[in-house]
Symmetry: C2
Amino acid sequence: MILTVTLNTALDITYTVDGLAPHTSHRVGEVTERPGGKGLNVARVLAALGRETVVTGFAGGAVGSVLRGLLAPLGPRDALVPIAGNTRRTIAVVDSVSGDTTQLNEPGPVISPGEWAALLDTYTALLREAGAVALCGSLPPGVHVGAYADLVRRARAAGVPVLLDTSGEPLRRGIAARPDLVKPNADELAGLTGAREPLRAGRDARRRGAHTVVASLGPEGLLATTPDGVWWATPPSPVRGNPTGAGDSAVAALLAGLVDGLPWPRRLAHAVALSAATVLAPAAGEFDRDAYDGLLPLVRVTEHAAAA
Amino acid sequence: MILTVTLNTALDITYTVDGLAPHTSHRVGEVTERPGGKGLNVARVLAALGRETVVTGFAGGAVGSVLRGLLAPLGPRDALVPIAGNTRRTIAVVDSVSGDTTQLNEPGPVISPGEWAALLDTYTALLREAGAVALCGSLPPGVHVGAYADLVRRARAAGVPVLLDTSGEPLRRGIAARPDLVKPNADELAGLTGAREPLRAGRDARRRGAHTVVASLGPEGLLATTPDGVWWATPPSPVRGNPTGAGDSAVAALLAGLVDGLPWPRRLAHAVALSAATVLAPAAGEFDRDAYDGLLPLVRVTEHAAAA
């Protein structure tokens, strides 16, 4: 099975309003709720692809109960660790006139040392059955900034390939623990390395400890800097739609390709096609299966001449 | 005891952000939750004044459970009717830079005919013990627009004085059923009668069926149009602060004064003082007890020469 870790899970709430005007009152049209946090999104996509998936991380309070209730029918096995605090909410206010989104993200509950210890126990036990593990998203208050580095080391000690998808200082610390794969976007990669040029920044991130770096470059696809070479994978044509969840779908495809032992060009083709099929789906975080199948043979993967 | 009815209860959530910029992402600083809906606010104030208070209305789903949990320690007795749907949330986004508030109000759950029938049963049973009843706020989806008229008639049939605090068509229909008291603000009164001048609009609202009309005129106090005369009550000086809940405090004082059989000038003095003490309290919907005691003898009540 594939394990995903989401330390800062969230109930993602979407409101539709007819134009957002600050300092006025709005009647919300439509209200939707879904379980959120990068690792849960990755797990949902993997489950939709027919992969056995387990999620861990934290959930608590009334909001945590709602999140677990919504997660139950979606496929991934729930191994979330209960906490005393209330799981955070995120509110996406979608302006039905312009289509733009205004995001309000709660800070998340404070995790106690005992709760962190319980997560480590659960994680260590789950690693025994895992073919790969993904560590995803931000850290909640109370969790030390080196937490991902700790989780990376435990995965490596257990012989389980580990993908890290986070940003800022948790990414910097996590990379030093030598994860198999990191998947920063262009901004996160530049923030880490100081280099804005992705080819150069990818090489720099490898020197800092990442075995392989797959940088997501938005509409320009993925750039993989691996020990075996450098590849750039791009969709056949620009896709228009809702980019929410596109990065999580890329992570899901990279994990599946890793477990299947696909060569890098194939892994990247799947990741780019699945990511584009997610942008094309009307619901945020879902993917269009026909588009995925149709795009897969059309993704262009080129090997870069420069040494990794 | 005093009964308050809140058909469209809400979990009132407040977010503090450092400036609200549409179409960007915000980290929420502070998150607070409180039971909301006008009738619950009125009941909280009455309970804080030492009055025996019962609340009814609807609550359901995970949000309803949170609301009931937060209500339990506050004083009013919970006689809310359970529903299948999820109680709505309101989100107040307070800009910590400007102090302005942006409001997002969910529409509320749809009430089924069976749930409405259960509310009528509960309401009718509670009327037997009630010294007064207040019907407060908007109607949730599924409840017919003449619902308040029905509740007013039942209170009158039971001999219980009834106060109606709503707006729009539910107010128009409710007034025709001859409530003892309505408490519109200037806009609601103008919407009802077409007259912007409160003295004239108050007389018109009485002709439409309200026994007494107490119009809340914001910083200019209250104007009472009664069968015995017309009174205007104003605070001794303008008060600055958070006006949230000031109208609900006025309703609470009017109910207490009604139950105690105070003469109109005394009722209005209490209502204006309590309302101003609510504006002065730092937390929305709370009141400053010392300010209430201090302001009470200073409220100016003048009788208007014109006949009601």
